[in-house]
Amino acid sequence: MFDLQLDHVSKRYLIQYSSHSRSPRWPEFTSLYKKPKEMWALRDVSFEVAEGESFGIVGHNGAGKTTILKLLSRISAPTSGEIRIRGRLSALVEVSSGFHPELTGRENIFLNGSMLGMSRSEIARKVESIVEFASVQEFIDVPVKRYSSGMYVRLGFSIAAHLDPDILLLDEVLAVGDIVFQAKCLDLINQLRAAGRTIVLISHDVGAIQRLCDRAMLLHHGRVITIGTPTDVIDRYQRMALDGEDGYHVERDAGQKSASCLHISFAAADQEEPVRTGYPMFARLRFRASEVLENVVFNVLIYWPSGYVCAQLTTALADPLLRIEPGSGEVEFCCPVLEIQPGLYRVDISIESNGNCIDRQQRCALLRVDPGKVVFGDFYIDAVWRIHG
């Protein structure tokens, strides 16, 4: 039994451009007479989500993820095709944007709750729980214009969380609130999954898709590329990201610097094999120097998709520090056990000498890690075990 069905859905946006030709000091009369340009945000998208299933949608910026969310939550309508929804659907979006600043927290709960489709009696029943979940007990009868931004967002999220929908849409909403609140939200999502609710998760974060979803779909420029298990879809997504980006040659302004990074590559022990969690990895950094450099440090910084630093390979611990001669060379880092989880990582490389940065290439390469030894968590910790007694 499907809960959600998209049948050849397309969405076209008409975009009104202002002309660039005239000087900005003379604003044009109006741009409304110009013929708008067409932009297809979705092209012939069909998929089904079964009841109780968690379905993930991945894709790059502009792939059409947000458009799907807007169509499903009825904010916008498709240009062609049909969408069938069984039961109550709600999206955990920025509900607080519907708050009226002059109304108190309690009044806003009633206003926004009914905007989301709850009846008055239903809200009256849940209001205490909403207030408690958002932890705004003392301020509930104060106009929300006096709220801190955190309280504002928490209250909004809390209302949406109490909707108790049959189908829940999530669009990278977990970025709201502090850590305690985020934990509450994740807990809620897990409870909803356990209760058999259908979930559609839209995210860049392949880790979240892998953890939370039963099936996933890859979108690219508004078209469905593939639908399948999260592992397959993420694999395809990452391979698409790698296309044309694998290995990055840096040849620009090599002459002006005393040294520069040329190339970084990652490989498993066997050249034919992909890099896998829990197995050896070799990182080779090629460089060129135009003079003798003392106290040299090579760094390879590895970033999560979210942009945070995940790990570093460095020669900073060498004693004495390295010394390089003019000409080109290669540093090889050998990791006996690769501890990071499968995923696609961005990489920075840099050369320092005497504490000064000589050359730095930011986000210049991709490191793709394939599933190897499967564990939960962010890292694989290599361990041996022994049983006593």
Binding site: M1, Y13, L14, L32, E51, G52, K70, L71, S73, R74, I75, S76, A77, P78, T79, S80, G81, E82, I83, R84, I85, R86, G87, R88, A91, V93, E94, V95, S97, G98, H100, E102, L103, E107, F110, L111, S114, M115, L116, G117, M118, S119, R120, R125, K126, S129, F133, A161, H162, D164, D166, L188, Q191, L192, A195, G196
Partner: protein, 327 residues
Amino acid sequence: MEPLPPAGTDGSESLKVRDRSSAAKERHSARAIAPSLVDREHPLLGSRIAVPRSVSVIRPPSFSLRTIVSGMTTLFGYRDLLCTLTFFRLAIRYKQSLLGWIWAALQPLSLMIIYTFIFSRVARVTSEGIPYPLFVFSGLLPWIFFASAVSNAINGLIHYPALLTKMYFPREIIPLSYVLAALVDFAIACVILTGLMMYYRVPLSWNALYALPIVATLSAFTVAISMFLSSIQVRFRDVGVGLPLLLQVGVFAAPVVYPLSAVPSRFQRLYLLNPVASLIENFRRVVLHGSGPDVGVLITSGSISLCCLVLAYGYFKATEATMADMI
């Protein structure tokens, strides 16, 4: 493990316990078969009533009878929102103001004084034997209702773009809530009208009850205009700029400050095709003169209003789906 029956009770207690646990088991297995019909308990969300889910279909927007019917069904489901929103509109309007609700009465009263001065003292307009202040006040009430509802409603949708781009509810609720709020103001002003009638010793007859269908028709027409214009306003902001001007002139296209008899009789039929004009004239007739309404004229304006309402609602629903893209 089945709990043992406590000593001193007969078997019924343990039977109950067993019943409950087997019911839980049944529920568990039923969940696998037809989960949507099972009462699912959730610690945070509370228990929910098992209702078969209905399938809703989202199609490209179109101007059709089906759109209108399904729109009305959805609107009915959101009736609580309409009430809440109207209530808060009224509550917010006079928040942080010293005079508060007195403003609802002060607005028509001040206009009454100004118009009385201009049209009765300076221009000497006749008023069918009724004291001019009362005459103009009875015309101003429905006019202010119409004008303030429309001018507030058209800006309602564009006032909070986040509402349109972040969440869905039937958009017509926003213009509707402004019309309803204006209707409440109208009711308050009607109390003052009754006070004025007592002051000027103008008797109130049973015919005044005809005001109810008259006001209902006027409301229908006001809703139609509000929905039509607010939908256009989302696309072309010209409406918001041009409307105040139009309304300032519009007051003279209805028998507000002058009696219907001042209109040359050969233009009267054309003049009364405007529902606002004919409804104001009939409102004054049944309330102040205590005579019956002009049924023929009422039926005409009723049909015009109804047609406008259906067309405007259809248009609104057809354009609603792309409002979030256009705003």
